[in-house]
Subunit: 515 residues, 2 copies
């Protein structure tokens, strides 16, 4: 839960007051013939951490957006004809085309009879045959091992090794999942132990991707927010990390440092130097590193490069190279964007082997991640090679998708910076812009009068007047007194231009109204 | 955790002794230059509930099976040439062929370019077009709503309504998931609240499917085991439910009654009368009903029929028809067996709307279930109709698969009953047999000497001597002093015969050895 009004660090703790009300409703022991009784499960006795999660995710804005969508369908008159959803990093929803080779391999694994069809390229067939040969019974309809199909894990390991310039990667450290989110959640669950009657603490960036606040809230883990430095391209300052840790004092046991690189929602790409400093800090304070690196293919800035935490850590040598690290990757981002298919991997290094066993065993209760998501992951990490028939087309599609994303990210940032009172950092990576904007004090007063954060108030007005749905900065965490929103760069260019023009006109009118 | 030795009911509680050891290892605050220090995350400070899960799942037997598999690959001499895995309900792994129509629809949604291909039937194309028309951006690669694609949820609702003879089903009550297991886990998480400083209690059958014991252990919920009546075709006796509840006294707050019908691992199909009695018991004790009905299409006994808890409850009228119920279904079972694709649904009725909101919001942090699993679920609930081109072939494949399963289940039970000291209930439903067998007292002594349950001892000997992997009854829970194992009925007929003959010979030699 991000609570920027009252304090910088917000630690979720049980609210014992809930329990008494819950017991009251549960105490009824009526029989079949007596008066109506309460539900077994009520708002008052449901797992309170799940109820608190609701607060973290800007629910009312989304609920209103859905209502507006239904009103439009019913023909209700509005100043706009459709909702413009700038809220999710969902490339295919915004018209991005899937990679041909990827869908070919997927099709061949679903329909092995097509392996004899001459219209499919041989490299796609080879990939499909190899995967099917490693599926029990030769079918994607059979369970895989809980950590994923061994050959896919091996391909992931090769991919990481190539990415990191030859630093070894052991496939035993690779765990496949139904997307990075559930992978991160399963990992954080390992820390769900109260030591000395205090919860584990997890350092997370502010602004952060709400998966983190939601998961920590569900598990009752302490959230330790460190602010990214907006004036320095959203970098991570060690002094701020130290401040965050110092201020929580003894309220929790800090055990994990989470970093999102490239950043979501902020889009920064960390420098190698910055990563080194973060690693030193984590070592000093004996923290497990969680590197959310799902946007590693989304780098648009020519002067930036993706440096994996594993590579930097390893090249720093001991003791850093021995640190515990979990890095996460997804099929939903990059140039792939196959969000709906659900696939991800974790590479976990230097973990206590006994803990690894516990993790694998805990995953086995859910049987296995979707095999089709594993097939897609295999293509991501094992794409066509230069001597293969699909190589040219694959490369063309990959480059064009990434070029288009880079172009749109520049377009979004430039236009935002042309709006009075707006200021956005230059585009570097990921799929978002996170501009800061100034609001007149009358608007802030109007927001407070409604019990809303000023940027939430602004986002509601934007939605009602233009149909544009943006996520306010306060849902991600921001320095109190500042206003932001996150917008994706994903819609087609023409649509982005229309949207930005509508935003600009709205903002000018908003300033007039509240000046 | 199933603990049949010490007590009938096993309640998982925190073990405070762990905490002290954990703190000791965490207290190290060495710097980069000091002596090597412990890991951040260790066996001693990992979430203890996850560590305890390990115990519930007969881990050592599976680990040994994997070792044997690798030994065989390396050419180690054994009395057998391959492992015979009778342990999982994984139909495709055992050679069952996928339903043609299902794979056609799946293929067309992955490769929409094939929608113009004349070799695909029109009804498959219609299904694919309809689903793609309801995917954002027309792609299965985009996120769906967290509860699933609306049109698929509506088809599920229609399917349930038809199944239950017209009893209304509201699609708002349908939640799609990555399989029934994660659906059940998300549901049970709602009860993860300690009321009056006691955990919620969940009544589960003994024998049970280990998902339940594992999930309850992870959440720290109390497991209240009620024994199924083996002498009465594994029926549920109300007197036994009452005993189970009475014996836990005040150690927890009983809130959920879980029933698996058709049964796993026991294969029974409950009579309507039995279900009515269970519902009355749940009402009397104010329990939320959890009906695990994933085997609803697997009924082999001509005198049995599947009665959904919802139908029976509704037809019983008030107050029973107002009870809270969650029923779960999967694409992994029935005649479909698409385990690897991961898909399931829950129908939750009479739930407090505020709790439903909490559940939906908690799911939204994981974004959405795999869209391809949703596509398969759509085929399961919206199969070809009599006037459609694929109907005849679909029906033929469905009937043949179910006929073959019925035949094999009879074969397994008959052969087991021909082994001296074996006794298996007649086949009724699901995908398993759960025979009881007598062991000589010398074997029991030998097991105890090794610190093993007698049936675990037996399963290890069976594995080492024949390569057959069965899950011992003590992993599912059984009346102390009895011995069982679960075997699937899934392998092809010839393989089943070979396996059963090997089992018989092993058992005879085992009796000689320990008599």
């Amino acid at each position: 839960m991000v609570d920027t009004q009252s304090s910088i660090v917000h630690i979720d703790v049980f609210q014992p007051i809930i329990l008494c009300r819950a017991m009251a409703s549960n105490a009824v022991t009526a029989t079949a013939t007596s008066i109506p009784r309460s539900k077994v499960l009520t708002e008052d006795n449901v797992f309170v951490n799940l109820r608190k999660m609701e607060l973290a995710m800007c629910g009312p804005l989304f609920i209103r957006a859905r209502e507006i969508e239904k009103e439009l369908q019913k023909g209700v008159e509005k100043p706009f004809t459709e909702l413009t959803k700038m809220n999710t990093g969902d490339a295919h929803a915004m018209g991005q085309q899937p990679i041909t080779f990827l869908r070919q391999v997927l099709t061949l694994t679903v329909s092995p009879n097509l392996l004899n069809n001459p219209s499919y390229p041989e490299d796609a067939k080879d990939r499909a045959r190899m995967i099917l040969g490693n599926c029990n019974g030769g079918s994607v309809g059979s369970y895989s091992e809980s950590a994923g199909i061994e050959c896919v894990r091996k391909h992931v390991a090769q991919y990481i090794q190539e990415r990191d310039g030859g630093i070894p990667c052991d496939y035993h450290n690779i765990i496949l999942s139904n997307g990075a989110s559930i992978g991160i959640k399963s990992f954080l669950n390992l820390f769900n132990e109260r030591l000395n009657d205090k919860p584990s603490g997890v350092l997370i960036p502010y602004p952060q991707y709400p998966l983190y606040s939601a998961t920590l809230t569900e598990f009752g883990l302490a959230q330790i927010g460190y602010y990214l430095d907006e004036d320095n391209k959203w970098s991570i300052e060690v002094s701020e990390l130290e401040r965050a840790l110092r201020e929580i004092k003894d309220a929790c046991n800090p055990r994990v440092l989470a970093v999102i690189n490239p950043g979501n929602p902020t889009g920064q790409v960390l420098t190698r130097k910055n990563i080194e400093n973060v690693i030193r800090f984590a070592h000093k304070h004996h923290l497990f590193l969680l590197a959310d690196e799902v946007y590693q293919d989304n780098i648009y800035d020519k002067d930036s490069a993706f440096h994996s935490f594993k590579k930097v850590m390893t090249e720093m040598g001991e003791p850093y190279s021995k640190m515990e690290l979990a890095s996460f990757m997804s099929i939903s981002k990059g140039y792939i964007g196959e969000c709906g298919i659900r696939g991800g991997y974790a590479e976990i290094i230097n973990m206590d082997p006994e803990v690894m066993k516990v993790l694998l065993k805990s995953l086995s209760a859910m049987l296995c991640p979707t095999v089709l998501g594993q097939v897609v992951m295999d293509v991501v990490v094992n794409p066509p090679r230069p001597n293969e028939p699909s190589y040219e087309q694959f490369l063309k599609e990959k480059r064009e998708t990434l070029r288009s994303l880079a172009e749109k990210s520049q377009l979004v940032v430039d236009t935002l910076n042309s709006i009075p009172g707006y200021k956005a950092n230059p585009p570097m990576g990921a799929m978002y812009a996170f501009p800061r904007f100034e609001l007149p004090s009358k608007a802030i007063e109007a927001a407070r009068a409604k019990g809303q954060e000023p940027d939430v108030f602004y986002a509601f007005k934007l939605l009602e007047n233009t149909g544009i749905l943006m996520i306010p900065g306060s849902c991600f965490g921001q320095i109190p007194g500042t206003n932001h929103f996150r917008t994706t760069i994903l819609p087609q260019k023409k649509k982005i231009k229309t949207m930005l023009e509508a935003l600009k006109q709205f903002h000018i009118k908003f300033l007039e109204r509240y000046s």
